[in-house]
Symmetry: C2
Subunit: 358 residues, 2 copies
């Protein structure tokens, strides 16, 4: 079955301030030491699975220059610019309509976030191949669940039925759960019946469009109106008129929590959602003092710190458990256990109308 | 008695890295929030005591552009460029010879470091006036001692005889002591017979030249050779030939520890030698969280830290007891109790031949 990939790259995100900004969110940052940006990695890890011509990037219109710059091999016509951010259901629906127009509705569609990291690529590709096999049947919607390794409270969970299904290695989804508190997270993990919701989906174009028609008929109608003009001069105008008025709902809530034929394939490929600067030490090597350093750094008696340099030398002396990030116009020095409070810096900047730094 | 001031501005100093550099030492930095540099403050605090035309700056030739830029009101001919650094005795001797040539040997000469801070200027000026009164007599050499407030091990001490002298408020000096260990420092402070050696001196030009002739006759001979050409075309050539070969000895060791007629006037004018970044919180106001901030700073849950911004925003979150200093090409993040280890950063830079950062 022909396979296309849709990479969702419209996210904003403030958690990588000061490197991430409203005009350069996380997916366009290089957070690993190899210099590749998150979205470049996302595209590159599909190389054995999907042709570059069959990779679609859905992003906000403001990020088009960044996409062109970072992904010159992706054809221009595969870059879908949302005129407004309307959450994942309209984003995925628009991509499905366009792929139907271009490749037909009998195409397998991989939906992938643009800002996650995967450690074991071969296993990732294998998982997606198996997901495609399940998605080929009926109107099955397949989600990739991540086997949890600890009771994370920052992720959504998928409750699965561990009984056998018609599809080897795939489990029937009972319910999706939003981020739990720590007690529930512990129960989920110890039960063995919950997986992390990675936000990666696989289905046929025909399947997801059928679900949209059934569960989100107004949205589907709007998407059809846009699709009818695809390839004509009035496409952009129709897109700009219709898309911003579509219901802003996530694919999880709009479809996945309502539909019956949802399956999960558990993934064990070293997934990381790279939620904050703290995650950098999970997937970048640390030195003998426990420091994750990137850039021009001199560290004296420095331990367990994350240090990301910019254009100048960063020298640390006698410190530990810090996150230090330099950027062109701002430096962050943050205690690791205060990482979530960086948002207060951004609030402060907004309050003071310093939007150039946000 | 006519009074001239000699400001010694040849010091190098690495303790204010990354703002201080080999080509911009501490005296040319602004370390207070008013924007004035240390040497500008030194000149300005003399305004009620000495004419600008009678203020001499002795500095290394490499710092001439900085002196001209920061002290445009000091006449060019008052800026004495040492072709090499030979410690304080040759520096002071050269200045004394030049002042003798220009004003006569019956001039009171104030010798002042360029990189100290003084909190109470009126008391400082009053102390110098009283020192001039003592220096007018005989060949008296007067040093300004600072009443110690704690057992500092980083300063030299002056042991005084607390008995009355011919000069009201002046004490006879028994001996100079180098930096003591903490036990001796405690004894010094509790005895009431020791003052900190501030490196500020007052004497007549004739007195110091007489002492140089007696205790450092070779140096005196060299200085006379230079002075003989002062105002002629061969001055620079003679200076460059003779000065670098003068004995590199401090005025303390070369003269003060040998001469008999040494007096001290105790100073209580809020003196601070500004020895490291740590001293910034002594003379700059701290905010309600104990932070000394300078520049564009956003501090969230930050306590007892010294934060000196450069050209970009510095944001701190959840940290305490740090020294953070930004400069054009390097950032320092240092625990307060590791301030003395910043020298290891500089050593590292030298080892790696990165002299542009030293």
């Amino acid at each position: 079955m022909k396979t296309a990939a849709v990479i969702m790259a419209g996210g904003k995100g403030e958690r990588f301030w000061p490197q991430s900004r409203a005009d350069r969110p996380k997916q366009f940052l290089s957070l690993t030491r190899d210099g590749e940006t998150m979205i470049q990695k996302t595209v590159n890890r599909l190389s054995s699975l999907v042709d570059k011509d069959d990779i679609y990037i859905v992003t906000n219109a403001r990020y088009l220059p960044l996409v062109r710059e970072q992904l010159p091999d992706i054809p221009d016509e595969n870059v879908i610019a949302e005129p407004a951010s309307r959450n994942t259901a309209p984003c995925i629906g628009l991509a499905a309509e366009i792929i139907r127009k271009r490749c037909g509705e009998d195409t397998a569609m991989l939906v992938l976030p643009s800002d996650h990291l995967i450690r074991f690529n071969a296993m990732f590709v294998d998982t997606l191949r198996r997901a495609v096999k399940v998605a080929e049947h009926e109107e099955n919607l397949v989600t990739i669940g991540i086997t949890p390794t600890y009771p994370e409270t920052g992720y959504g969970y998928i409750n699965i039925s561990t009984g056998e299904t018609a599809y080897s290695g795939a489990y029937k989804v009972i319910r999706f759960y939003e981020k739990p508190d720590i007690e529930r997270a512990k129960q989920y993990v110890s039960s063995g019946e919950y997986l992390w919701n990675s936000g990666m989906f696989v289905w046929k174009v025909s399947s997801i469009l059928a679900k949209l028609k059934r569960y989100l008929p107004d949205m589907f109608g709007g998407l059809e109106r846009i699709a009818d003009t695809y390839g004509t001069d009035s496409y952009i105008q129709t897109l700009e008129e219709v898309f911003p008025n579509l219901e802003a709902v996530s694919i999880d809530i709009g479809i996945m929590e309502r539909a019956d034929d949802i399956y999960t394939i558990p993934g064990n490929f070293g997934w990381d959602d790279v939620g904050s600067w703290l995650s950098l030490e999970r997937f970048n090597p640390t030195n003998e003092y426990g420091n994750m350093v990137k850039g021009d750094i001199i560290s004296i008696d420095t331990h367990n710190s994350i240090i990301v340099g910019g254009n100048k030398l960063v020298a640390t002396v006698g410190v530990e458990d810090l996150i230090i990030v330099d950027s062109d116009d701002a430096i962050l020095i943050c205690a690791k256990d205060s990482a979530q409070d960086v948002k207060h810096v951004i609030e402060n900047l907004k309050t003071c109308n310093r939007f150039e730094l946000v």
